[in-house]
């Protein structure tokens, strides 16, 4: 039932919808052209048959024609209506706390994916192709923290403005977010205390954890995405929590360290990539990736 207060299931009482995104109407161009063609097709066919000497509206063809024509147009009408529904109910929303992507894949297949703004790391707006450039629509790719799949809004109008708006909302949400996450981590040090801090954080965040999940209705199979409930480094980074160096250090040797044919300048198993970079050696590609990952926790502090 259409509720003027709630745009999607699970919307909280104090949750405001800032962006309501729907695909650009030009993405329906193919369906519109097909609908027009199929609407005119019987008229053209009957005209051609009449001109060719046939008599579709006289006995005995008349009975078939007056049954086939309504069936054809009724099927066409419901097909067009369902196409419109799939277009119209396939929306994305950006609220003050999360991104919501509602996919209406078919009449009986509807899925809702959500992503907390705290998980957003970067947002890109892309326009590919002539139509998208002229009419200013394209994809918005929301890159997420951790190993989660990216969040993509397809073919939406003004992708760059939407991307900027999402980033602004993310920054606002990060500023306004209370810091229950920080308390357990700040008060302790060391690996063991970090583990207990993380578990404490997990317990505290459980009621408010809106990390990306797939809510499935009807016949959509649930995605195996619930393993990411455990807070990861990216979440702590975005939550503005300074991560101790022990957490950012990989627990297992990096691929560079594991190579038996590594040059003599390669770091030992106990040596972190940061230390190799500090020694002035040119970092290899993989170790530089690890270094850049370690640099990520400082980004929220700049903000």
């Amino acid at each position: 039932m259409i509720d003027p207060e709630h745009y999607f299931p699970g919307q909280e009482a104090d949750e405001r919808v800032f962006l309501f995104i729907r695909k650009h109407p030009l993405t329906m161009l193919g369906e519109i052209m097909a609908g027009l063609f199929l609407t005119l097709l019987p008229v053209v066919l009957l005209a051609v048959i009449s001109v060719g000497g046939g008599e579709p509206f006289t006995e005995p063809s008349r009975n078939f024609t007056i049954i086939a024509l309504p069936i054809y147009y009724l099927i066409l009408a419901v097909w067009l209506f369902i196409l419109w529904l799939l277009y119209y109910l396939d929306v994305g929303m950006v609220t003050n706390t999360r991104l919501v992507d509602i996919d209406q894949k078919s009449l009986f297949k509807r899925s809702i994916a959500e992503l907390n703004l705290a998980w957003v790391q970067d947002v890109d707006g892309n326009r590919n192709g002539l139509l998208e450039t002229f009419f200013d629509f394209g994809d918005v790719v929301v890159q997420t923290a951790g190993e989660r799949t990216n969040f993509i809004f397809h073919s939406i109008p003004h992708p760059h403005e939407v991307a900027q708006k999402v980033l602004d909302l993310q920054e606002t949400a990060m500023r306004q977010q209370p810091a229950p996450v920080a308390k357990p981590v700040h008060g302790k040090s060391g690996n063991q205390s970090n583990k207990s801090a993380q578990s404490a954080e997990r317990v505290q965040l459980a009621p408010e954890d809106h990390s990306m999940r797939e809510v499935t209705k009807h016949s959509t199979p649930p995605q195996a995405d619930t393993s990411g409930r455990q807070p990861k480094q990216g979440r702590q980074q975005n939550a503005g929590v300074p991560v101790p160096p022990e957490e950012t250090t990989p627990s297992r040797p990096s691929p560079t360290q594991a190579q038996p044919t590594a040059p003599p300048a390669a770091p030992s198993a106990s040596e972190t990539p940061t230390s190799s970079a500090a020694a002035g050696r040119p970092p290899e590609k993989k170790s530089s990736q690890t270094t850049s990952e370690q640099d990520i926790p400082h980004e929220p502090e700049r903000r």
Binding site: M1, I2, D3, P4, E5, Y7, F20, R62, N63, F64, I66, I67, L69, P70, I71, Y73, L74, I75, A77, V78, F81, I82, W84, L85, Y88, L89, V91, Q104, L107, F108, R110
Partner: protein, 68 residues
């Protein structure tokens, strides 16, 4: 009654199910302030006119002549 007419009646029952499902989705999952009601009204008008036209045409046909 002609076989065509029986097939048409059976089709209408199936069609009513699909049409009701589509309208239910429009009503259930529509968004505030959107065009769901307008589109549903247009759709209902189109199928109503189509059905009325077909019933008028069917009513003017001598289906008894089709029986062997």
């Amino acid at each position: 009654m002609s076989l065509l007419l029986i097939a048409y009646i059976v089709f209408l029952f199936g069609y009513a199910t699909v049409a009701a499902s589509a309208l239910y989705h429009a009503y259930k999952f529509g968004y505030p302030g959107d065009k769901t009601r307008l589109a549903a009204s247009i759709y209902i008008s189109v199928i109503t006119l189509t059905l009325i036209g077909s019933f008028i045409l069917i009513g003017t046909t001598d289906w008894g002549a089709q029986l062997p």
